[in-house]
């Protein structure tokens, strides 16, 4: 069939509009908001910030990177996972065990951890191939629990409940730095890479395929897309990037135990950051982490000791507020505030 494109086709202007000037500077693909966030992050890395705040910045950027990784499966492919702490833990343990027991540099170990996690993620997606919605979510939760219990009991490898320490022999090869700024810069680099990967997916044909599978699997399948291939790919990539975040976490905190690193709480937190920020866009999880992580960390440090549990109550109240009044997350609320309603891909 040959349908020739007519020059008279009427199309409404695509997305870009004067009402959302901050989304699109010129023809560029990077928005003013994104540029502002990037500059702010770099400033925070370079600026002389007290140590306690550096911890907050570090965890915000790291959790932001992991929430972005989660979003590749949960937001783009619709594979909502409550088991990403398993990938995080696999990454953290792989690089740490290689460093502590075999002297392998974490710069190498993090790749291997990523590959292990990707293999596990692909296996999960294959096993859960027929599961949808809540049933898939439960399968990821269960799989992560299996990993956590495995790590707790395989004491010869993981140290079990006592955990693993990275004794700090400071060297760049060991990814153990003298200054905290170096860690923050490293984690910022990670977050930026995951962000760019996310943007690239959004704009690629693969991204369109993922969105289609997420929105209607039958229709995507009738369009020549093998949904299983799309899902396993998204899960594998998401797991890979999450695991690298895990390795960076281990190098920064220099201590690992399964009860924290592979906990359901951590899995929920990754999902929550992405969902509250806005699913299915790169800016969503980034905003989610930037708004929520400092809030939760600062509340804990200022209120945690004086009023037991108060910080959790305020934090919880804030989350309820976002869910009730900002449906679609912080990103879509920002977009609506400029006076135009529209759906985001």
């Amino acid at each position: 069939m040959s349908v020739t494109s007519k020059s008279t086709i009427e199309t409404k202007p695509r997305r870009a509009s004067p009402g959302r000037w901050w989304m699109k500077p010129g023809h560029g693909s990077v928005s003013w908001l994104e540029l502002a966030l990037l500059v702010a992050c770099i400033a925070l890395v370079v600026a002389p910030v007290p140590h306690s705040y550096q911890d907050v910045i570090n965890i915000t950027l790291l959790w932001g990177g992991v929430a972005l990784s989660w979003n590749i499966a949960g937001g783009y492919a619709g594979l909502i996972s409550f088991g990403h702490a398993a990938f995080f833990g696999i990454g953290a343990y792989t690089s740490t065990i290689l460093l502590v027991n075999y002297g392998v540099s974490p710069w190498l170990g993090l790749w291997l951890g990523g590959i292990f996690a990707a293999a596990f993620g692909i296996t999960l997606a294959l096993i859960g191939a027929r599961l949808r919605g809540p049933f898939f979510i439960l399968s990821t939760l269960a799989a992560a629990e299996v990993v956590r219990i495995g790590a707790l009991n395989w004491t010869s490898l993981t140290g079990g409940a006592e955990g693993l320490w990275i004794t700090p022999t400071k060297s760049i090869a060991n990814m153990v730095f003298a200054s905290r700024s170096a860690y923050v810069a490293l984690v910022l680099g990670y977050a930026i890479i995951v962000y760019l990967v996310s943007k690239a997916i959004e704009r690629s044909r693969y991204g369109l395929v993922l969105f289609a599978v997420r929105d209607d699997e039958d229709a995507a399948s009738a369009a020549g897309v093998n949904p299983l291939t799309a899902r396993t790919g998204a899960m594998g990539l998401s797991a890979f990037l999450t695991a690298i975040g895990g390795s960076l976490f281990a190098q920064y905190f220099q201590f690992l135990d399964p009860t924290y690193v592979i906990s359901p709480e951590l899995s929920f937190q990754f999902a929550l950051l992405a969902a509250l920020g806005g699913l299915g866009t790169a800016i969503g999880p980034a905003l989610g982490a930037i708004v929520i992580m400092p809030l939760s960390e600062l509340l804990r440090s200022y209120l945690g000791a004086a009023f037991q549990g108060l910080h959790l109550a305020i934090y919880g109240g804030f989350l309820v507020f976002v869910m009730l009044y900002l449906p679609g997350g912080i990103a879509s609320a920002l977009e609506r505030s400029t006076g135009r309603s529209k759906e985001t891909p």
Partner: protein, 241 residues
């Protein structure tokens, strides 16, 4: 030349024989109507041909290749496109991207796929909706979106499923002309429709399915005189006062 041959095709759901031994063959470039009362097995027949479900028994030959039990994406890649009776848009994508995804099958770059999608949207009269989210479309527009997506696959055989439902009379006329123009472009069409005046005027050959069996396969002129068909649609002993 025969493009599709279905031989004693059966599919049961538990004790229900949805398709109970259907045989027919379709030549390249034909426009064949497929009608029948609700529950006759039309959609099941489509699902079997397009690979959404596997047959209990029987043969499906597409371009002289046995394809019974293939997957929907195999069908699409081999040139069999279908629409869904209940439209299945990608809800979070724009109208043009809904079609561009299908156009990607034969266009490597996103830009080329979008250009082709826009051309096809113009063909079905949806050009002015291209940049809008698919959620704002009306039922009639969603039906046209289904047609656009099927055509974007560059098919050799297309299975239309009730694409006229919800369309105004003028839209039905335009859409019927589009469907009727497809065989000349090398696209063989099977067309399930309840809007009978459209199909009776456009399709030179119409098959009638009733309770999973093919009860007639004839020209529209002969069908209206066929007592079996009239019985299937209106029941026996119909008296008009």
């Amino acid at each position: 030349m025969t493009i599709l041959e279905v031989d004693r095709l059966m599919r049961s759901f538990g004790t229900l024989m949805a398709v109970a031994g259907v045989s027919f063959s379709i030549r390249e470039g034909e426009l064949v109507g497929l009608i029948g009362p609700n529950g006759a097995g039309k959609s099941t027949l489509y699902n079997l041909i397009a690979g959404a479900i596997a047959p209990t028994s029987g043969k499906i030959m597409f371009q002289n290749r046995s394809v019974a039990g293939w997957k929907p994406y195999h069908a699409a890649r081999s040139g069999v496109a279908r629409t869904f009776q209940i439209p299945k848009p990608y809800r979070k994508l724009s109208v043009v991207d809904n079609v561009a995804l299908n156009a990607l099958l034969h266009n490597k770059s996103m830009a080329a796929a979008r250009r082709r999608a826009e051309a096809i949207l113009a063909d079905v009269g949806l050009a002015d909706q291209a940049g809008n989210p698919s959620t704002i479309l009306t039922v009639g527009e969603l039906k046209r979106l289904e047609v656009a997506r099927a055509l974007a696959l560059h098919p050799t055989l297309v299975l239309f499923d009730e694409i006229m439902a919800g369309l105004t009379r003028n839209e039905v006329v335009t859409m019927t002309a589009l469907v009727a123009s497809l065989p000349a472009r090398g696209i063989t069409v099977i067309w399930v429709e309840h809007v009978l005046y459209a199909i009776m005027n456009a399709a030179p050959r119409i098959m009638v399915l009733h309770r999973g069996e093919l009860i007639a396969d004839d020209s529209p002129e002969n069908l209206v005189k066929n007592s079996t068909v009239i019985q299937a649609y209106f029941g026996e002993e119909t008296t008009f006062a």
